[in-house]
Amino acid sequence: MNEPIRNRYEFILLFDVENGNPNGDPDMGNMPRVDPQTGHGIVTDVCLKRKIRDYVDLVKDGQEGYNIYVKSGVVLNDQNKKAYVANGLEPTDKRQKPDVEAKLVQFMCQNFFDIRTFGAVMTTGVNCGQVRGPVQLSFARSMDPIFQQEVTITRRAVTNEKDADAGQTMGKKQVVPYGLYRAEGYISANLAKKTTGFSEDDLILLWDSLVNMFEHDHSASRGKMAARKLIVFKHENELGCCQSHILFGKVQTKRQPSELPPRSFEDYSITIDRDLPKGVELIEKL
């Protein structure tokens, strides 16, 4: 199962949030991100990637080949590294010879799940030192305009002495009462084969992380977040059999008729058109 993948994939992930902030906007005092033109909520690609990394780190726990390159200051368990055979490289200036570069990139890809999956910018490599990973995520958007609510909370204990007389301090929480978001992604078999060696096992782990990443990411600000649907389109070959926007159009989300704004997943119905172009298979992972 360590073979690089041989099929092109597209996937749709539907996830929702209840009384929480899925992704705060640093420009707006951490209010939930919103598209100013439509009022729809946004969750950035990097926010979702962070969750995937954290999940893989949690499940694999520093297992060889599943290290995470972009992480919080946890030092790697380096025991397994000892096994690496010295390549006898002489440190040179920034521009490496192509064959040396290839070795470095290969080393990084073998060790780090997130570089194999998403790529990374390193000073190695030819094109500004980038390794392009096979998995490409775009911004997730909510199905309907979201309502940004600011909830004021109080705290009985105080931090500063000068607040002691007041007896309590006020704080703010920013939440979305409910939002159903849709993220779309692409996986290129060619980049897996040519560059990073993203394997069938890695793919299973990726699906697993998309389904479960919110389960291990609970916090006071997130509220109730859950993956609701993961729909995968598998092409029978590396290049694909059909345009992705046609496939993405096969999954439609509809509001149930109601006077009130949506407040739960039951307020939506999801229809999947299973009449697919030749050579594409639809897999419901969740």
Binding site: I42, T124, S188
Partner: protein
């Protein structure tokens, strides 16, 4: 024809807090074409870029990383094995805004030249038909994108009449977009080449603009 919700064709002079050009650069268009079909034997050349939708901007601020790993560090890890290789979320995080384009749609008008490395078997016909087949079927080597990988592009081959641009016949459809990046000259130490982009009725005739002068 390519379209997407967002795009960011970053101006090289505003790279830290990214600011997009008003329109797609020829090098980004080349990137889209190469994502669909490319072989070392051919070189895509962008002739015209048709701007189909009104130019709109949007601002997004994200947590990003400030540095990248040095090859020396990777080598040390390979040799000695007791080096911690990771990027620290708390230490290297920077918040950066990007000024992005919204709801973009372009028609790319391009041709390819056979480059020097071609063997006896390389014919224009072969590459042309392969590229055409892929575009018709929506096949691609990796998914094309509009400037950055998180802004994926949908694409379709236009075989008949081009649809009319929003800017067709409008006063603001003819404007001087100033100096824009044309492409990077990879054979010449990655030297960037700029050109003066003029839009006429929503169409940028790249080749014509280049004849009027390039800078590098």
């Amino acid at each position: 024809m390519v379209w997407g919700d967002y795009a960011c064709f970053t101006r090289p002079e505003m790279k830290v807090e990214r600011v997009s050009y008003d329109v797609m650069t020829p090098s980004a268009a080349r990137g889209v074409l190469e994502a669909i079909y490319w072989k070392p034997a051919i070189r895509w050349n962008v002739d015209k870029i048709h701007v189909m939708n009104p130019i709109k901007f949007d601002n997004i601020r994200r947590n990003e990383r400030s540095g990248k790993i040095s090859s020396v560090k990777v080598e040390r890890a390979m040799r000695e094995g007791n080096v911690s290789l990771y990027q620290d979320k708390s230490e290297d995080t920077v918040q950066r805004a990007s000024l992005l384009l919204r709801d973009v749609c372009y028609c790319i008008d391009a041709h390819f030249d056979i480059s020097e490395t071609n063997g006896e078997t390389e014919t224009d016909e072969k590459h042309y038909n392969m590229a055409l087949r892929r575009m018709r079927k929506g096949q691609c080597f990796h998914h094309p994108y509009l400037g950055c990988r998180e802004f994926s592009a949908q694409f379709e081959l236009i075989e008949g009449e081009l649809p009319a641009s929003y800017y067709n016949g409008r006063v603001d459809g003819t404007r001087d977009l100033g100096i824009m990046l044309w492409d990077i000259d990879f054979s010449n130490d990655n030297k960037p080449i700029f050109f003066r982009a003029q839009m006429k009725d929503g169409i940028i005739d790249v080749q014509k603009c280049r004849e009027e002068g390039t800078f590098s």
